[in-house]
Symmetry: C2
Subunit: 498 residues, 2 copies
C-alpha cells in the first residue's frame, strides 16, 4: 500500500523531470543549432514550460500524494517499512516541494522578469563597461533575491537560504572558516610564484573538426559512452543532461588555443560522467539526480585538474597531441610543455584563472554577496569593492568594469549563493582524490598507459550511484571518513606550487 | 469587449501551438542529433507533451472562452463586429475543438497504443516481408481508425471523417470522380512510355558536405531565409516547422544519387517556403497555419515538379551541377541529362515513382482504405488486392510484401485518409501553376537567369499569407476562379509525356 503510494508519487515526480529534460533540450538547441530568428518562440516555449513545471511542483495532487508518505510539517516518514533509500528520497522531495511552495507565483514572476531584463542589459552594457546604466537592474536582481531568501526562510543568515538552493545543507557558518583558511594559505603562495613561462606554442589557427575529434578521443579514453551522449561546438563549453542516457557536451566553436578545448573536454567530461553514472531506474527521483552543484563541480575538477593536469595523463597524451599539431609542438619538449601548462599567474578574468588563483576569485564574490545581504554595502559601490578585494587577494586590479565587477553573467541571472559551489567542488575533489589514491595506489601507472576507465568506475561506485540520497557533506564523510575540510586541497596546492 | 475575448482565446490557442512547436523540436532532434540511447526518454517526453496538448485542446477553460465568441452547437458567430478573418479563424478553432472533443481519452489512448505497436512490428516484419505476423496489428489500427471515424461523425461516408482530419472539407463524393478521371487519362499514357534511358551518370560516391552545400545554394536561390531555418542530414528528408521563424529541413545523409538530394531540397523547400510565408503575427491561430496537407503538398510539388523539372530551371542549374560533379557530368550533354531526369517508368515503390505514375500509387491506396471502411475487404486479403491493383494500373507486380502492401509506414501510423492529399497536392499545384503562368508569362526567362524569388513572393501573396482562413477548395477557387478539377494536371502530364 505504502509502496503503491511511493510509486504514485514517483510517477508525478517523473513528469516534472521529463518536462525539465525537455527544457534542457530547448536550451541545448538554442546554443547549438537554432536559427537566429527562432529566439522569440524559444523564449515563449521556455517560459510556458517553466510555468508548467512550477505548477506541477506545487500542485495539489503532488502535495496530497506526498502527504500520504511524509508529514509535511515535521518531515516524519509515515510508514517505517519503506526502504532506507526511499526514505531519503522522500526527504529530498519534501525539501524541493517546500522550496517551490514557499515562493509565491508573484515572486517567481518578478525574479524571472528581473533576471531576464538584467541579462539583456548586462550583455549590452558590458561592451562599454557602463556599470552606471547596469546598476539599477543589478540592484533589482539582488533585492529580489534578498526577498527570495526571506521567503525561503533560514536559521542564522539569509545567505544560507540561497546557498541551500545550490548546495543543500551548506551554511555561512561552515563556509566562513573554510574560506578564511584558504585565503590565508593561498595569498602568500600566489605572491611567491615565478613569472609565467613562454606559452606561445599553445596558440594558432586550428581546424575545428580536428579539435573536436581529438576531444572525442579524450572522452572515449575517460569512458564516456557515446551511445548516451554527443559532443558539439558552441560559443561556450557546457554539459547538459537530459537524462543519464542523453548527455549533450560542447566545446568552443572557435578556439585559437590548442589546450583550451582539451581542458574544457576534461571539465565537461567530468560533469558528463557523473550524469552517466546516475542509475537509469532512478530517473525522475532525487536518487537519479546529482547530489549538488558542488559535488558536480568536484567531478569536473577531478578530471580537469587532478587527472588532466597530472604528469601521468600528459605522459600518455602529449605524444598524441604532438602528432596532431606538429607545426606547434614538434620542437617543444615534454618538460617545456608541462611547465607551461601548469604554471600559475593571477588573471583578471575568473574563467581564465588557474588552479592556484581560482578560489580567490570565488571568495571575493562570496564576500560581496554576503555583505550585500547583510545590508553592509550598496550596489553603486560594487566596482570599487570588487577592485579592492582583487588587489588584496590577487595583487592585480581591473582596468575596466567589464574585466572587473561586470565580468560574470551569474548575478544578472540571479545566481547569488552559487559561486561558492565552485570552490567547494575543488575542496571536495581534493578530499575524494586522497581517498582515491589510497584505494588505487597504482593510479599513476595506469593513467600513464592510457587506462582511465577504472577512475570512472570508482566514482560511479563511490559517488554517482547514490544520486541525491545523501547531503554533500554526508557523501564526503561517508567516503573519506573525514569531515569536510580544506586541508587536502591546500596541501595539494602547496606541494604543487612550492 | 468581444475583441478582448478574442485575444484571450488566442492566448490559449497560442499555448497549444507553443507546446506543439516543442513537440516538433523533439521530433527533429530525434531524427538528427539525439544519441541512440536517448530514445526511451524521448518517447516519454513526447507522450507527456501530447497528453498536455490534448488536455489543453479540450479544456474547460478553452471551451468557456470559445463559447463567448461562437455558438458551439450551430457555429454561429456571436459578435458580428469581429473582423472577417477573425470570424474565419473562429470557425477553424471550433472545427479543431470539435475534433478533439469528439474523441474520448480512451479512443486517443487506444489509437496511440495501436499505432505505436504497429509501427514497431511493421519495421521488424517488413524486413522479412512477413505480412502474416504484421496483419493483426494492422487490423487493429484499421479498426481503431474506423472507430475514430464513427466518433468524429460524417454525413455520407465514414471515410469523409478521416479525410477531414488532413484535408478539411474533402469528401469521397469529390474524390471519386476526380480519381476516376485521372486513372482513365494516365493508364494509357503510362503504357505508351518509351524504355527508360541511361541514368548511370546520376550515381556514385558523393561527399556529403558538398551535396549539402549545393542544396543550401538551391534553397537560397528559391528564397529560403536561413536566419529562419536550417538544413541538416537525416535518413529521410523532411521539413519540420516550429514556427514561420524556425524551419528545420533535412536531406538524405547518404545519397549515392546526385539528383536525389536536389529533388528532395526542391520538395522540402516548397514546404518550407509555405511555412516561412505564414505571417508571424498570426502564430498560434488558424491564420498562422497551413490550409491543409494537400495545399502544403501543392507547394512542395510546385517547386519540385513544375519548377524543378522544368527546362528553364536546369538551363540555369545544370552548368553549376556539372562544375560540382565534373567526374560524372563533364561529358553528359544538357539534353541527355534532361531526358534522363524527366523520363517516366513504373516503379514498385511509391516514393521512388515519377510524376506520371505517382498518382496511381495513391489512388490504389485510397481505394483499399475506402473499401475497408465499407467492410468490403479483409486485412488478410490486402496483399493480393494491392498486387492486383498495381498490376492493373502500373502493369507491374511486387515480388515481396515489403515492396508491395508493406512498403509504407503510413497505415501503421494510423494515417488512413492521408494518402489522397498527395495527389490533391499535384492537382492543386497544376491549377495554381496555370494561374501563375497567366500572371507571369515571362517566368521561363526569369528562371533561366536564376531569378526565382518572384515565385516565392507570388505564392506568399496568393496562398501563404491566408493561412487556414479558407478551406482548400475555396483557396483554389479564389485564386484561379475555377473549381477544383484535374484537367490542368492531366493536360500538363499529357503534354509532357506524349
Amino acid at each position: 500500500m505504502s509502496q503503491d503510494n511511493y510509486n504514485e508519487l514517483v510517477k508525478l515526480s517523473k513528469e516534472i523531470s521529463t518536462l525539465s529534460s525537455i527544457h534542457a533540450l530547448l536550451d541545448w538547441d538554442q546554443e547549438t543549432y537554432m536559427p537566429e530568428k527562432g529566439i522569440a518562440l524559444r523564449s515563449s516555449q521556455k517560459q510556458l514550460l517553466s510555468s508548467l513545471i512550477h505548477e506541477k511542483k506545487k500542485s495539489h495532487e503532488f502535495k496530497k500524494q506526498l502527504s500520504k508518505l511524509i508529514d509535511l510539517k515535521t518531515g516524519q516518514i509515515i510508514d517505517p517499512n519503506l526502504e532506507d533509500l526511499q526514505k531519503r528520497s522522500l526527504l529530498r522531495i519534501l525539501h524541493d516541494f517546500n522550496i517551490a511552495k514557499k515562493q509565491s507565483d508573484e515572486l517567481v514572476k518578478n525574479l524571472s522578469e528581473a533576471t531576464s531584463t538584467a541579462c539583456h542589459v548586462w550583455s549590452k552594457t558590458k561592451k562599454t563597461s557602463d556599470f552606471q546604466t547596469f546598476a539599477p537592474y543589478l540592484k533589482r536582481v539582488f533585492d529580489k533575491t534578498k526577498e527570495q531568501a526571506e521567503a525561503l526562510g533560514y536559521q542564522d543568515h539569509p545567505y544560507d537560504a540561497l546557498l541551500d538552493l545550490y548546495e543543500p545543507g551548506m551554511t555561512v557558518e561552515v563556509l566562513d572558516p573554510l574560506f578564511k583558511e584558504l585565503k590565508k594559505a593561498l595569498i602568500p603562495l600566489i605572491q611567491k610564484q615565478p613569472p609565467k613561462p613562454d606559452t606561445s606554442f599553445f596558440y594558432g589557427n586550428f581546424d575545428k573538426e580536428v579539435q573536436r575529434k581529438f576531444c572525442i578521443e579524450i572522452l572515449e579514453t575517460l569512458g564516456f559512452d557515446f551511445t548516451r551522449g554527443r559532443l558539439d561546438r558552441t560559443s561556450h563549453p557546457f554539459c547538459m543532461g537530459l537524462s543519464s542516457n542523453d548527455l549533450r557536451l560542447t566545446i568552443h566553436g572557435e578556439s585559437g588555443n590548442l589546450i583550451g578545448n582539451i581542458m574544457a573536454t576534461l571539465h565537461e567530461g567530468g560533469h558528463a560522467l557523473y550524469e552517466q553514472g546516475l542509475l537509469e531506474e532512478n530517473f525522475g527521483t532525487p536518487l537519479g539526480m546529482a547530489a549538488s552543484l558542488g559535488i558536480h563541480e568536484s567531478q569536473s575538477r577531478f578530471y580537469e585538474t587532478r587527472i588532466g593536469l597530472s604528469k601521468p595523463f600528459w605522459t600518455h597524451t602529449y605524444p598524441l597531441l604532438q602528432k596532431t599539431y606538429p607545426h606547434n609542438l614538434e620542437k617543444v619538449s615534454f618538460d617545456t610543455f608541462y611547465k607551461a601548462l601548469t604554471a600559475s599567474s593571477p588573471s583578471l578574468i575568473r574563467v581564465h584563472s588557474d588552479e592556484l588563483t581560482y578560489s580567490l576569485h570565488i571568495i571575493l564574490r562570496y564576500e560581496i554577496e554576503k555583505a550585500y545581504l547583510e545590508g553592509e554595502i550598496a550596489i553603486k559601490d560594487l566596482p570599487n569593492i570588487f577592485a579592492e578585494k582583487m588587489q588584496e587577494s590577487l595583487g592585480i586590479s581591473p582596468n575596466t568594469h567589464a574585466e572587473g565587477v561586470m565580468q560574470d553573467i551569474h548575478w544578472s541571472m540571479g545566481l547569488i549563493g552559487y559561486f561558492p559551489t565552485y570552490t567547494l567542488g575543488n575542496i571536495y575533489s581534493a578530499q575524494i582524490f586522497n581517498q582515491f589514491k589510497l584505494n588505487h595506489p597504482d593510479w599513476e601507472k595506469r593513467v600513464e598507459n592510457g587506462h582511465l576507465h577504472f577512475i570512472r568506475d570508482y566514482l560511479n561506485e563511490k559517488i554517482h550511484k547514490y544520486g541525491r540520497a545523501f547531503l554533500p557533506q554526508e557523501l564526503i564523510e561517508n567516503l573519506t571518513k573525514e569531515k569536510l575540510n580544506a586541508k587536502p586541497y591546500i596541501d595539494y596546492l602547496k606541494e604543487k606550487f612550492t
